[in-house]
Amino acid sequence: MSSVGTTGRAVPAGLTPSRGPARRAWILHGFTVAVLAVWWIYSQFVPAYQLPGPVAVARRMAAFVYDPLLAMQLGISLAHATSAILLAFVIGAALAFSAHFVPATRLLIDSRTTPFLNAFSGIGWLFLGILWFGIDSTTVVFAVTMILIPFATINLRAGLIELDAELMELGRSLTRAPARRFAKLMLPMLVPYMFAALRISFGVAWKVTLTAELFGGNAGVGYMLNVARQEFDTETIFAVILFILLFVACAEVFVFRPLQRRLDRRYGID
């Protein structure tokens, strides 16, 4: 089950750095340009509601930048995603720690609760949320939280299982205060797993928050997508998707990857 963690792992750069990283960078940018060119050429032959050209989409994106509406909707979606990630992390951590510290609950959590939550349909949570809370932000946060909890539990459980027993013993010989051992030894050793849990949650949260907003929300980017979909406004759909892509990719490249590299160095993970 810990294999879920592999999706959040940092990826080392290519294996042969000697053959000119500059040339590779050119090829990468060339690829981007080629994709844009193919998109542009293809968009000339199909109706705009099927595939708007890159220029039209860029113009729509620029219009959104000056429009406070999209910024606000994006902020609402961000708030939905963040609160769900934090809630799921707290609940998932509570489950993982209780399985670790109270052995009697281990079977209940490891082989009943977690697998059940892990197999439960995200769409199901969403529809149940709509039935219970109606169409609003509670439904969105509820559904996304329920989807994310197993990711947090599985990662933290993996961390707790991997804890070095000898280091724990060393801790016991240094202090008798369990709270001190927990804060000074256990938590720092769990940092990579907590980070992995947050990183995976962030990625999954963005994918499902939009779905939840589309069906069960009355605000946010997903709601905007639904309106655009009903009006066959494909330009807006593309613009929204590209904004999300930019946002998530930037978070990944500028926040998560550097942090992961630092953690890998700090914790000597190869």
């Binding site: 592999t6 294996l15 009697a104 209940l108 439960f120 995200g122 199901g124 039935l131 939009l210 779905t211």
Partner: protein, 258 residues
């Protein structure tokens, strides 16, 4: 020893007890609520049981299953193909990691669903396309990781035993990457049922997603619950009966165990 035995007994008691308690608590809560808010356990159990006898429901379940199976198979094959290309060329590897995966990883699943319907109309192939697009990053990440972890010396050894590429692939390369592919299969099969079912909300007139949407819009909460439980059962059953044994058969201790 007795301590361990006691923990196990208490653990089992707590595990089954909590499940029982959850069902009883659900039943008691449901008695005070209308069934479109919270249906009682017997109602849901009846709806789940209908999946076993009602051919229409069985058809929806079968259609969803066939689509998921096709999507997982195609996505995995695609991922293995791409990963093999990436293995022989560092440029392809960089392209996949720094362009394709970044885009696929951050693409919202509902975006694929909407675009799929706009591009290809409503059909089985549209649903499969959307599901492939959603699970491909998970397959690809695992396949790349698997091929990256191959010990080059083992491949060299393989090359010294046989010149047939196919033979080397099936006898050396495939068993070496199989643990990663099995993990990828388990993850993507689960994701496909849990999240990619959104494809059937937009792009289909059949399947469990469609059934759930119908049930939700007619406030048939028992059916929504039943669909969720049927999905849990299917994911559990396939994972236990097919995917977990597959992962075990190719686990790294294989040689030691047998």
């Amino acid at each position: 020893m007795t301590e361990a035995v006691r923990t196990r007994v208490v653990g089992h008691g707590l595990a089954e007890g909590a499940v029982l308690l959850a069902v009883v608590g659900w039943w008691l809560t449901a008695r005070g609520l209308p069934s479109f808010v919270l249906p009682s356990p017997p109602e849901v159990a009846t709806a789940v049981a209908r999946f076993g006898v009602d051919p229409a429901l069985l058809y929806h379940l079968g259609v969803s299953f066939a689509r998921v199976a096709a999507a997982v198979a195609i996505a995995m094959t695609l991922a293995v193909g791409l990963a093999m290309m990436a293995k022989s060329s560092a440029t392809v590897m960089a392209l996949l990691e720094q362009r394709v995966l970044i885009v696929l990883n951050s693409f919202p699943s509902v975006g694929w669903a909407i675009l799929g319907v706009v591009w290809f109309d409503v059909s089985n192939l549209t649903v499969i396309f959307i599901e492939i697009a959603i699970i491909l990053p998970f397959c690809l990440t695992n396949a790349l990781e698997g091929f990256r972890n191959i010990d080059p010396e083992l491949e060299e050894m393989g090359a010294s035993f046989s010149r047939s590429r196919l033979r080397r692939f099936t006898r050396v390369t495939l068993p070496l990457v199989m643990p990663f592919l099995a993990a990828g299969l388990r993850i993507s099969f689960g994701i496909c049922w849990k999240i990619a079912l959104v494809a059937e909300l937009f792009g289909a007139q059949s399947g469990l997603g469609y059934l759930m949407l119908q049930a939700q819009s007619t406030a048939n909460a028992a059916m929504v619950f039943a669909c969720c439980f049927v999905i849990v059962i299917v994911v559990f059953a396939v994972d236990r009966l097919a995917l977990a044994p597959l992962a075990r058969a190719y686990s790294k201790n294989q040689g030691v165990a047998s």
